[in-house]
Symmetry: D2
Subunit: 321 residues, 4 copies
């Protein structure tokens, strides 16, 4: 029997992307799509690509489901849970950042939903804090080094598509401004830094610093990051270490050839490449910010928590070109 | 048991797009990928997004398969069939334009593979000529009028993504030139005009003219067309007629709201909208040129010819944004 | 001595583009930039590219100037002139559509500011109605035929950059939506149709129809149009006719080779190409919508009305690539 | 009287961009455009935007000129000078990288053509090595720190438009691949690193390292860079230091507000912004790679070497949007 699913905040980008994924998922059934602002409107009115795919009407009423995704603005998940009691049996996956640094909500202990390190914990959990998009791309590039105690201070630049800024109309998402343009934001101060450092410093003996400059890119989907780190190992040994770390992963691919962002756009994959000069390495990583960086990873977590194959419903055709 | 598939010309865009689709298709198994120029190379070396999805090596040897896709440059399919005898039992789907205007090859009578009008013929066929990309988008916009004998002379502009020009490096596919640029090509002289007119004039009593100006767009995937036609029917009646024509279609969606190209990019859907002023209507249509305009439609035809559900393996997540 | 200039609505795209042009114009001096909504703000705060180019502060006070440009939303120029008496000596150039179809304002008789047909009238005028962007691109493609009485019904598709929609944040100018997307708007119903028909029907004996479908393009600057028209002349003769018509033009270039939009982006040029099949021709034209389609043409008109060389201050380096 | 100019390699991007600039320059006259591969072809055939701007025919014959620009592939300038003796009176400006690290050619001692530090040397020189594009953007961001002995190890990411890769058709400049894509190249190994380090280490007491990862961007023009450096000064003091350093510059603008790349595209400006967190600063800089990063800077150098105002012919209208 299929598990029932509710999505809170289904009218946003990550919410609607969950609808796209779950509409074709073999083991789930969408029961309700909650949206305060668009209640009464069909989801396919907001996102016409969903026409004939999902004909649910957005609602402001909640019913009990096996699985609940929270796709709310950051810091609103906790309020929502306060105001809307959820059964202990329900698997809650929060796509906001309320519980990413840990923390409980009543009896719920949120597990950090990065399956590449917390697969076992996710399997037994009813409460999952889905990682941030940059946090996913950057951590996956660093974890193999951290696990071997090889991580030192990190200098990272990352670039993100406009979907990362959501659907609200802003000067920095105005087509005329953003087209063919590059700019920096939240320089050395992005909210994902703490999330990343928490995880890598748990593994690495020596505490490290992350100096991260995020850029706005002139494309809609995707994240590409390059991290420079001091490292005295041979490149070949570094690759061995990365390939070992990800040897069982169905999602992270370690490449010895040049990678590009578009090879993972519209998929749940992460691809990583490493280059070396002198005693410095650069680790490049790329994901789709809405999939492995948000809704795809949420489905991956849902699969694992239910004991299903982790890529169920995630065999997505890449955009490729 | 799965049907075996061979792809001739698997190294090109339509060939590799078939690989992306068939890698996840439940009823088929890729047996060989033929490429003269890239024989010995893994398909995933050419298209790194296919890494871990398809690990076949391109070959210049052919073996017998249940299904054979020809993804050759236009006018080379016939030569290929001459040089490479294919069992009569094999379903041959030609993505080139050799047989689109009809014509036999030995005992093979090629059916025109537009399922929206030739569903029955495709069901019993072993030889299918897959329509052209613009031909698909424009015909689907015109057929309901032609069927009712309402079609008059047509004035169409269509715009196509760069993937329509294939993977060869040309001045008009140089990023520096094409980015933010629009240009016309094959003005009033595109090879798909005959293909379109043949079909619409079969249905429409009065023979009509198609004046078609194709444009190169500054995007990779997609086709958008607008056709202006004299029409004295009420818009409401026109919509009734279109909706009737496509009432059983799982692929063509008739919309009374504004459509945009991206709502069908990375899917096998076609979306159509009609607007009217005075005695003129404009019919807009949009498809993904590589999917409903090529490889997706080829898979749809394969499904129908095999008696499978026509959308099998074609439940694709749209790029959406 | 330099002529003084005031700009009403200087905070918008056409207003700021005028600032860019006039900041380097040898015969003018910017005296004030009027903006109700941004009064007190430096223009370079709104448009940082103007930093060190123009340090004027937007004001809501008006003083007398030799030249006044109105860059207001459509239909607001007339109101503005009602509320703000302007000296009869002042050259008023209206970039809105209030006076494009003719009409007086008090003693002011507005001349239609298309220098390619009204050069003489513009020379003696104090009141100029600057043409619309699509109106300019399409008329320049049609006028030589109209003058020879060769114009018949016209079927036009045109595509415009996002700057045509101004700086207001709208769903259709949201980067995520517009990037890689094409859509139609105001189908067969664009406000420039009347403006175009008025001019071409003045020249052509037989009244013609214009069926025009405008598209939104995924670029910021530029317009490209293709018009299909019945024409029984040889292509060579048509070219002779076009080249004669524009033989003295410093702005319109007639090309026998393929044209592309980007060759005129960031310039005041218009480029035109003609192709023929059977008894139909397609006339392609391209301009920069903010320059020859708005502020560049306004400066050209200002030059002519002042008896200056018409390209003064308009020798702009093209973006080229 | 105007100075005569010859351009060697006028058929490439930097060569044709020089033509665009010099066609409107008040003190120069283009005498010949040398191109071996396109000899006999009008420059406006290759670059149609130059039609009616420059009607010179590319030639393979050389005559004496006051000024000579070398726009050859890297490492070919020296060969060219060997084979083509140039009068000692001729001002030679080399846009290649043959002489950027110093070096003589016969009696010619090449000055490094970064006017922001070598203005005086350029004034008296007949031989100028024009800096690289990334080298210009990154140095201008670092020099004020180096001059104060404050520079420490540098971690830089920079992104460049496709024009940086020239006009040759390559897989990485194929529109289909590059559109909406990001990738790294020459990681930690770009040829401009030595050029940058030579200059900054001349100023800074302590030798520093530059760890530079260049990215390919999905736009045609522009460079944006972010450099992370340890710095214990207050942000206010850092800004004072930068503003002092550039107080006489007509080209470099120091901004305390967020900058974006497009504000300098199609201009000869460089814009710089600094941000600080803890003991780390990030210095952002942006230029147009073909102007301040190549041909614009070459004209600036020409102006200075001739004793003309340095921005002569460089008052370019920005693309702005």
């Amino acid at each position: 029997m299929k598990k029932s699913v509710g999505i809170i905040g289904a009218n946003g980008y990550t919410g609607s992307e969950l609808v796209r994924l779950l509409a074709f998922h073999p083991n789930t059934e969408l029961k309700f799509l909650f949206s305060r602002s668009n209640s009464g409107v069909k989801i396919s009115e907001l996102y016409p690509d969903l026409d004939s795919i999902c004909d649910l009407v957005l609602t402001n009423e909640i019913s009990e489901t096996d699985i609940l995704f929270l796709c709310l603005p950051h810091k609103e998940s906790q309020n929502w849970l306060n105001e809307n009691p959820v059964s202990e049996e329900t698997l809650v996956i929060d796509l906001g950042n309320d519980f990413r640094l840990g923390g409980n909500f009543g009896n719920r202990n949120f597990v950090y939903g990065l399956p590449e390190i917390y697969f076992n914990e996710i399997q037994n959990s009813k409460s999952i804090a889905n990682p941030g998009c940059f946090a996913t791309a950057i951590q996956l590039a660093l974890l193999p080094l951290a696990k071997e105690n090889l991580l030192k201070d990190i200098y990272t630049t990352g670039i993100t598509g406009s979907t990362g800024a959501g659907q609200s109309l802003q000067p920095t998402t105005h087509f005329t401004w953003r087209n063919d343009n590059i700019s920096a934001y939240k320089t050395l101060n992005h909210q994902h830094v703490d999330e990343i450092l928490k995880q890598v410093n748990l593994l690495n003996d020596k505490e490290v610093e992350l100096n991260f400059v995020p850029w706005r890119g002139d494309f809609a989907r995707g994240i590409f990051t390059s991290s420079i780190i001091e490292c005295h190992l041979d490149l070949e040994k570094i690759y061995t270490l990365y390939k070992d770390f990800y040897k069982d992963s169905l999602v992270v691919k370690v490449s010895e050839k040049p990678i590009d962002m578009k090879q993972v756009v519209n998929t749940n994959f992460c691809v990583i490449q490493i280059e070396k000069q002198g005693n410095k390495i650069a680790v490049h990583s790329a994901i789709d910010n809405l999939l492995k960086g948000a809704s795809g990873q949420a489905v991956q977590n849902m699969n694992i928590a239910n004991g299903w194959e982790q890529n169920l419903g995630l065999n997505l055709k890449s955009i490729a070109f």
